[in-house]
């Protein structure tokens, strides 16, 4: 068996090893990748920029640990952006794990030096209202009364007593809604039960697999902007001028994508070369 034939029947484990290296090694470096911000992300960023400081932003985290690699960086970069711009954050979850994910993202962001200087206060600048069962019905109920839908926050305080929630009755008192979604219930439900009846302004981040199903809502204008998968997360970080986890992870993405393409090419090269030989 010569080299080319060996290459043709390459042991899978060699590919596995290269993939592991291609993903792990770039994590040690911080590289300024050129990532172009696509219009769908740009639109979301512009809509957020238009909000005056003090605006109230509702963040619905509708995912679980399975989608953390893609959506957690989006949650972190969004919280960072809000704190820097003095936007008030109201967190909820339509998935039971959402508010837990929010807390772990907040833990990361609140420890960043820039944010520490701002010193956001729980109850004044951000609040976590926790999870309520009922999927899309929760959105409908929030349309008429948010404090009734979420009577207590994540740690059991009465929603009415929280300073940030003063004057927040329903969607009329919310300036923007941001939804991170990994499936049902998620962005589709926010569009159908939030945007359509209550005319809320909605931006979303989705897993890459989910994103194509959401595109029609962008074209129709029901959705302001969309972050699709890790790349969308990275674009948002670039747009907000604060490259972080997603940008860093994108280096791994590029290297591993390039590696797969490279393997496909050498596989075909070996295939052609051996075929020629046999023909000769």
């Amino acid at each position: 068996m010569n080299f080319l034939e060996k290459l043709l029947a390459l042991d899978r484990r060699i590919i596995f090893l290269f993939i592991a290296i291609a993903v792990a090694l770039p994590l040690f470096f911080t590289v300024k990748l050129h990532i172009e911000v696509t219009p769908v992300v740009r639109n979301l960023h512009n809509a957020l920029e238009a909000l005056p400081p003090g605006s109230k932003v509702l963040v619905s985290l509708d995912y679980d640990p399975g989608s953390m690699p893609e959506l957690q960086p989006m949650a972190e970069s969004f919280f960072r952006y809000c704190f820097m711009r003095d936007l008030k954050i109201i967190i909820i979850g339509l998935w039971p794990n959402g508010p837990i994910q929010a807390n772990s993202a907040l833990e990361v962001i609140l420890n960043e030096p820039d944010i520490k200087k701002k010193n956001p206060k729980y109850g004044m600048d951000y609040v976590n209202l926790g999870y309520t069962a009922g999927n899309e019905v929760v959105i409908e109920r929030m349309g008429s009364d948010i404090p009734v839908t979420f009577p207590k926050d994540y740690s059991g305080n009465k929603t009415e007593d929280i300073p940030l929630m003063k004057g927040v009755k329903n969607f009329n008192n919310i300036d923007f809604v941001y939804n991170l979604s990994a499936g049902y219930p998620g962005t589709v439900e926010w569009v159908l039960f939030g945007v359509d009846p209550y005319k809320i302004k909605l931006g979303a981040g989705n897993t890459a697999v989910q994103a194509p199903q959401i595109y029609p809502y962008l074209n129709s204008g029901q959705l302001v902007g969309l972050l699709g998968g890790m790349k969308g997360g990275a674009e948002f970080e670039i747009a907000t001028g604060h490259p972080a986890k997603a940008v860093k992870f994108m280096f791994s993405q590029s290297v591993s994508h390039a590696l797969i393409c490279f393997f496909i090419l050498i596989g075909n090269f070996a295939y052609f070369a051996t075929r020629k030989k046999k023909g000769a």
Binding site: S144, N170, Y198, V209
Partner: protein, 396 residues
């Protein structure tokens, strides 16, 4: 020109002062007009739809109306309570309620209700005249679903007609399908090698159509394995699927006349959690050295893990799913793939039962109708004829 400016200016000044002295009354917007309340069509009978003409002060240049409140009462002169609110620019509201009598928000059907609409500015409001009475009642047919009804009836008649033709002994031709022809070879290979066959029904429940189609295929394959005296292993991820799979395989062994060879412990339940199930199936493939793997049914992300592990083990693999996102991975990593509809057709192919073949013919006829509609529809749309699209439009 100067004069008008001066007049406007003085009006503004006057308004300003009035505003200071009488903040409420003079800023009241014009009320909404032509308020109508009627039963919401095509619903369960617990909702009334209210429509109105926008207030004269609702518009881009005036903008002082921010929202409309919808109020309801049992009598035209009684107390009106707020039922809901919509932002400015909207002119309809569905007043909905629960259908359970014990619910706080129960909406009484067949009862007279009266409505008012209130146009609101930031610090003032004005009310429309009272509309009504209106009653809510449930409908017995959803008119918006008429196209679906027509489709249902037509398709049902087609299927039944072809099946009755088949019953009368009419023979139907179906073209060969690569994945199906491979099934016999795959079973033969396992027999020669003296190794078992692995059959995976996917992650669907026993009620998923793809899973049921897969049961029929399992039944045929079990019959063949019984004839060849080859072992068949069916690990399941749903308890009901497991029960059905046991019945199905047993029936296959009965058909082959070998009920004695049926072993229930080869059709077993592992766990219902996706990746734990996959972890265990991976182990089975490598430890049992299965010669042939079938993956037929509903598959999600695990499809590629299964297919690649099977290929490491050197098994012949035949796959099929209607889960569109997973077909590419089966196509890339298994030897034969039944794409989408081919999975449903496979049961008819394998059994060659005339009745099932008849249904397949009905499917083809329906497909022809769809294709003709597509072509005609696109032509109609090119000439801006909208009626054709309406034939397929379903209102929910």
């Amino acid at each position: 020109m100067k004069k008008t400016k001066a007049v406007l200016f003085s009006i503004l000044i006057i308004l300003f002062f009035f505003n200071l002295s009488f903040p409420q009354e003079n800023l009241s917007p014009l009320p909404p007009t032509e308020v109508r309340a009627s039963d919401t069509p095509n619903d369960n009978g617990h909702s009334i739809t209210v429509t109105w003409k926008l207030s004269g002060d609702d518009g881009a240049d005036k903008k002082n109306v921010v929202a409309y409140e919808i109020l309801r009462s049992d009598s035209p002169t009684g107390e009106f309570i707020v039922r809901g609110m919509v932002p400015a620019g909207n002119n309809t509201y569905q007043d909905r309620g629960a259908k359970e009598k014990e619910d706080k928000n129960y909406f009484h059907p067949h009862k007279d209700f009266y409505y008012k609409v209130r146009a609101k500015t930031l610090n003032s409001y004005s009310e429309s005249e009272v509309a009504g009475p209106a009653q809510a009642y449930g409908e017995w047919f959803h008119l918006g679903k008429l196209p679906v009804f027509v489709g249902t009836v037509t398709f049902t008649i087609m299927v039944l007609a072809f099946i009755s033709l088949a019953r009368k002994g009419k023979e139907f031709y179906v073209r060969p399908l690569a994945g199906i022809d491979a099934v016999d070879d795959a079973i033969g290979r396992a027999t020669e090698m003296g190794r078992p066959i692995l059959y995976i029904l996917g992650l669907g429940s026993a009620a998923d159509i793809a899973t049921i189609a897969s049961f029929t295929i399992l039944n045929r394959i079990a019959k063949k394995t019984a004839e060849h005296k080859t072992k068949i292993i069916v690990p399941c991820n749903d308890p009901i699927v497991m029960s059905v799979a046991q019945e199905t395989v047993k029936a296959g062994y009965l058909d082959a006349g070998r009920p004695d060879m049926y072993k229930e412990e080869n059709i077993f339940y592992l766990t219902s959690m996706q990746f734990a199930y996959v972890a265990a199936v991976n182990g089975i493939m490598l430890r049992e050295q299965t010669a042939t793997n079938f993956y037929l049914g509903k598959f999600y992300a695990e499809s590629l893990i299964l297919a690649e592990t099977g290929s490491v083990a050197g098994s012949i693999q035949i796959s099929g799913t209607d889960e569109i996102a997973q077909i590419p991975f089966f196509v890339a990593a298994t030897d034969f793939t039944l794409i989408g509809e081919e999975l449903y057709a496979a049961s008819a192919y394998l059994g060659r039962e005339p009745l099932l073949l008849g249904a397949l013919k009905a499917q083809d006829l329906a497909k022809a109708i769809v294709m003709i509609s597509l072509a005609l529809g696109a032509l109609a749309a090119s000439f801006h004829l909208g009626f054709f699209l309406k034939l397929f439009t379903v209102q929910m």
